[in-house]
Structures are given as C-alpha cells and as structure tokens.
C-alpha cells in the first residue's frame, strides 16, 4: 500500500469528513457499550448465585460472540423492529458482541474473591448489599474493567464492518476505498479506526492497573 504524501494531502483535504466519521464511529461504540454494560453488569451480578441462569446466559452470549460479524448483521436485517438497514441494527449487533466479555468478566471477578474475605464480611454483619458494593465490587473492579476493555476493542473493530449495512462510521471509507481501489480512502478509515482501538485499549488498560488490588 502506498502511504505516501498523497495520503496526507487526502487526509488534509477531507479532514472534516474523516473527523465526522470518527465521531460517528465513537458514538456507535459508546451507545453499544453503554447498552451492553447495562445488560451484562447486572446480569453478571445475578448469575453469581444462580448456576442455571449462568449456564444459560453465558451460553447465549457465547453463541452471539461466535457468529461471524458480517453474518450476524445479515441475520439481523430481516428481523422486524430491530433489523433493517442502518445504525439501529448495527447497534444491536455490537451490543450482542460486547455482552460476553463483560458478562464473563463480571461473573469471574465477583465469584473469584477469597472465600475467607467473604466469610469475614458475612460474619461481621454486613448485609448482602454491603457485601456486594463494598467488598465484591471493589475487589472485582479490575477484572470487570478488563472485560469492558476487551469488549470496547471488539466493538470498535466490528463497528467498522457495520458500515456495510449503512451504519456510517469509519468503515464507510474503507469499503468505499476497496470499491474504488483507493489506498488513500481505505487508510482514511483504517488508520483512525486502528488508532481509536489502540488508544482506548491503552487508556482502559491504565485504568485497570490503577484499580487493581493486591
């Protein structure tokens, strides 16, 4: 590929469009991640004490994670209400993708706490809510955050493909570039997408290390 000055001049000329697409891309990721967290975090708490629900929900999340992304988009399109062409379908797919890492890490983090610590907490007369929010959660936080980090990186990647079903974002440049055989166009989408993924991985990684206990 030819990342010569022509790319930089292309970038300079289309700065506004590229930034706009980056913002769209980030919006897709943020919305999808917020929804995924709103589902997976409480569900992760719930399944700590419920093995049957755990097997079921992890199984379902695992199925979504396994379906190739383009296939998942394809499968969603014909579904009424959530399907069709556009952002909404893309967000649904991104949420489904992000569920498993968050769910799994929430469960692993909350259940992997030293039993002696939990026994002490219970014996000291902490209520279940106090144990959850003052002991389990703080101790599980870095593990949960690792799941959020993985999910974010996956979502940024899959969101690029979501351009194929009209979700907008940086993938638009990539697909257009492939169609027009234009390296500059491809890079205009691929570079910011890659940077976005690396940057968020790095920042969330820092936060994760900051929150790690012992």
């Amino acid at each position: 590929m030819n990342a010569s000055p022509s790319y930089w001049s292309f970038f300079a000329e289309h700065r506004a469009e590229i930034l706009g697409a980056t913002a769209d891309h980030m919006m897709l990721v943020v919305i999808a991640m917020l929804i995924a967290m709103a589902i997976a975090l409480p569900l992760g708490m719930l399944i700590v004490e419920r093995p049957a629900l755990r097997a079921l929900s992890m199984g379902i999340a695992n199925i979504f994670q396994t379906i190739p992304s383009l296939a998942l988009f394809g499968l969603l399109i014909p579904i009424p209400f959530i399907g069709g062409i556009g952002r909404r379908t893309a967000i649904v797919a991104l949420v489904l993708y992000a569920l498993l890492p968050i769910l799994r890490n929430t469960y692993v983090g909350l259940s992997g706490i030293d039993p002696a610590v939990l026994e002490a907490a219970e014996a000291m007369g902490m209520t279940s809510a106090q144990i959850l929010f003052r002991v389990r959660f703080p101790l599980a936080l870095s593990v949960i955050l690792a799941g959020i980090r993985t999910a974010t990186v996956i979502t940024i990647g899959v969101a690029t493909i979501a351009a194929e079903i009209g979700a907008g974002g940086l993938g638009t440049f990539v697909f257009r570039g492939v169609a027009l055989v234009s390296d500059s166009l491809i890079l205009a989408g691929a570079m910011p997408a890659a940077l976005l993924a690396l940057l968020s991985d790095c920042l969330l990684g820092l936060l994760e290390r900051r929150l790690r206990v012992a």
Binding site: D114, A116, V117, L118, E119, A120, A121, E122, A123, M124, G125, M126, T127, Q130, V135, P138, L139, V213, A214
Partner: protein, 272 residues
C-alpha cells in the same frame, strides 16, 4: 486498663488450633442478661440438610455469662461448624442455638453478628481496605462518628501490639501473616462484642510466630481478665466427647482426651 481500652470485661472468645483446635469463650457485657449467654439445645447440623451427613449431632451445651470456654478436637470434628452455628452462618438442621436466650433462627442475623466478634484462620482482611478501615469496619457499619472510630482503632491496634502510626494506613498485603492475624483480632474486638469467636486464629502461621502470638494472647486475655479457662469441650466427629474444667480434663480416661494430652507433651507451648 480494661475500662480504658474499652474491651468488655465479659467478651466471649473462642479459640481453636489446627488439628487440636482451641477455642476460648470470654464473656458478655450484657449486664441485664441473666442465664446462659449461648445455649445449644440438642443441635444437629447436616450439610445441605441431608440427614446422613451430620457435621454436628446432638450437641447440648450451655455457656453462662463470664465463662471462658475452649473447644478442642481434631480437624473435621466440627469445631468450625459449632462456631458458625453461634453467629448464624449456619442454622441448625435440628434443635436450636440460643444466643441471649433467643434462637439464632429468630434473630435479625445482621444485629446478631454485629454483636459477635469472629476471627478466622486466614484472617480474611479486606485487601482493598487499610488496616484502620479493616478494624473500623463494624463501627462504621454501626455509624459511629469519625473521631470515635479513629480513637477506637488506635486503642485496638495498640492492644494487639501494632503501632497505629506505623500500621493504620497500610494495606493487608503490606503485613506479615502474624500482623494480619493481629489486625483480624483487633477488627473482631472493634465494637466491643459480647461474644468473641476465634476459629483456629493462628492455625495458618509458622510455628515460631504462632507460639509468639499465643503467648501474647495469653497476656491479652489477662488484660481482659480472662486468663482462667473455665471449661474445656472436646469434640469428636460432631459430638461432644467430654466437657470438664482444665485440671479435671487432663485426668480424664476418654481415649480422645488421652490422645490430646499426649500431643500436648509433643508440642512445646501448646495451650491449656
């Protein structure tokens, strides 16, 4: 001294050791309460309520106010289970456990547990809390004001031989095993509990540290005016094999008692 450090003169302490567990109960501060502080009435406990798997069977035992009780027994004899039946971590499958005359099944377990100090083998300190936050947990749950909690944490750390200036802001990972156990004991005493249960508190320590801490806690028990063990209870496969004051206990013919007494000679610095 006792008044000043504010540890109830009648706090119940249960202390057990690996293999041959040792539990001491020191007694309660409930002035108005008469009768037995803790009473087991024909208590059995089965894992998951499966009758075939009894951990405790047919235990009846009364612990009056002011008594210091030591629980002995091999690993798996049911010492831990017996202690957990007192603070309602377990509820009896049959019979009832009364604390202050009320069955544990009828207690508000949160209230019950906040009045019972509990020390376990691995200390179970909260790794994300400082030493001061660990010790001050029950006071903070009980909504003591900051000043009172800080003062209390300071006196308890001094009581267990840790300088508050040096240790208050450390995290458990920055402590040795022995120091962690001291913090565990201070934490259990924080709200001046009526009952203190110690389940093999020094069982996970190396022999040197263990002996050292045992000596120190003998001294601590002295400060709490609880030097004299009033009775020893020997548990054998979930049943009470023998109950007797120490001198009488040492002379008993029961094979488990003999086995225990023999092991005393083999381990310097053993209890009783």
């Amino acid at each position: 001294m006792r008044q000043k450090i504010g540890v109830g003169r009648r706090t119940t302490l249960i202390w057990s050791r690996r293999g041959w567990g040792l539990s001491i109960e020191m007694n309660a501060k409930i002035e108005s309460f008469s009768g037995n502080l803790i009473e087991f009435r024909d208590v059995s406990y089965h894992i998951n309520d499966i009758p075939g798997r009894a951990v405790i069977s047919g235990v009846s035992l009364a612990v009056p106010l002011g008594e210091t009780l030591v629980l002995l027994g091999r690993s798996g004899s049911g010492k831990t289970t017996l202690l957990r039946l007192i603070n309602a971590l377990y509820l009896p499958s049959q019979g009832e456990v009364l604390v202050e005359g009320r069955p544990t099944a009828e207690w508000d377990v949160i209230r019950l547990r906040r009045g019972i100090g509990y020390v376990i083998q691995e200390a179970g300190l909260f790794p994300h809390f400082t030493v001061a936050e660990n010790v001050g947990l029950v006071p903070s749950l009980e909504k003591w004001d900051r000043q009172r909690t800080t003062a209390r944490v300071g006196e308890l750390l001094r009581l267990v031989g840790l300088d508050p200036a040096e240790f208050a802001d450390r995290h458990p990972r920055e402590l040795s095993g022995g120091q962690r156990q001291r913090v565990g004991v201070a934490r259990a005493l924080a709200a001046d509990p009526a009952i203190l249960l110690m389940d093999e508190p020094f069982g996970a320590l190396d022999p040197v540290t263990r002996t050292e801490l045992q000596k120190e806690f003998k001294a601590l028990a002295g400060r709490l005016q609880k030097t004299i063990v009033s009775r020893i209870v020997l548990l054998d496969t979930g049943r009470i094999a023998a109950v007797a004051p120490p001198q009488e206990f040492l002379r008993m013919d029961h094979p488990e008692v003999r086995a225990f007494v023999a092991s005393l000679g083999a381990v310097p610095g053993a209890p009783v």
